[in-house]
Amino acid sequence: MSESRPRLIREDGLRVDGRKPEDLRPIRMEVEVLKNANGSALVEYGGTKVIAAVYGPRETPKAVQLPDRAVLRVRYHMAPFSTSEHKSPAPTRREIELSKVIREALEAVVFTDQFPRASIDVFIEVLQADGGTRTAGLTAASLALADAGIPMRDLVAGVAVGKVDGVIVLDINELEDEYGEADMPLGYAAGIGEIVLLQLNGVLTPEEFKKAVELGKRGAERIYAQMKETLHKKYLAVLES
């Protein structure tokens, strides 16, 4: 309701958490955080914490096999303790939709044709939700796929752009998502300059939309650079040992 809506842009033009409109939250990335998975990654965007694991390419039930390519199986799931109120562990309609859009984002970069009849399984668990969980999840999934050594056309960085109190801002947190005018999750393969995930939940003029895509691309490029650095570090460490 508008009467109980908090102010999202302060007197000084900064956001509720002190960021400038074009600032990302502090982002942490780590790969190879799980022993059993073929690849894994932990990603934090501010208070949002997500872990992703990749199993495969591995054998898959006959019924879902495809003769000319691997199938991707993706599950985006929120832990029951990840939100302020307890969330039932059963998959919601939202989680089913997000699993689909994240799978489709990864389909655009994974060389699935190299593994006919196999499956590549990506499991994303949101441990704590503070806005941008699907985009942090996409970043984590992309890192985990790279960590698993799955061949890809490019890495994918996810970031959500929003509109709050009339201002287009980068990497919205939960409060900005809940009370803002728009939430636009973007998945961007920055190395090849292609959009692999794009949704808009909210209202934007065509000019604002253009600006939001631009801002999202610039933000994704910064996250992409950090992803590369994270992977470099891992492999340099392997070389040195």
Partner: protein, 282 residues
Amino acid sequence: MSITPQREPIMPKLRAENIIKMLKKGERVDNRGLYDYRSISVSIGIIGKAEGSALVKLGGTQVIAGVKAELGSPYEDRPNEGVLQVHAEFVPLASPSFEPGPPNEDAIEVARVIDRSLREPRAIELSKLIVQPGRLAWVIYDDVYVIDHDGNILDAGMIASMIALAVTKLPKLEISGESVKINREVKETPLPLNTLVTTVTMGVLGDILVVDPSLEEESVLDTFISISVDEKGRIVGLQKKGLKSITPKTLDSAVEIALKKGEQVLSFIRKVISSPQEYMKW
């Protein structure tokens, strides 16, 4: 879990290649231009028991939207608003590839995109659907029922929903003291609307955009983008779908096309709801 689906329907390779070849020349197998919709026909009020209904035929695709109004509790965090719920059913009679059972990810996606496209621009003024603040409100169910699938279910479902909601008449409320009863014998109050909304769905083939893809086109195109627009020319929703990416440049063209085509679809919807009696036959 979301799993890469099989391509449906399975099509002879020659046919598929021909569709692609023609699209690259700016032609389509059904002789449409790249940005043309198939013909749209509408029947209103075909379900007398519903508070509002519309059957939309978009080429060979047929979708019924039925609107029911019930009394219920408002959401805890929206004590002064009525409730809108959108659901979509891909029933098995509509296509050989639809199975019975709870809605799959495609049906859920269609329902959620329609829901967001209506909710975000406040197409329905939910604050006028409260009966007793915090306690009792109108709950509006918009059920999208696909009965024949020939591609672009989303746009057909969106247009059907928008028309069904626009022609909906709420039943009379009989209030005596604490008790509130619905009298469905008398349906009189239209839903309070702020704007009409539609989606414009396009297939993406590299930098070529194809408006209102048919089922055949859907099965050879890998990527789609649906852009929701309202009467003020704003973008009120967007969903990229499918297996491939889209470049920022193609996205710009898609927005431009969606604004233009959306305006045409919206004026068609306006025409239908301004003279409903002309569309009351099936």
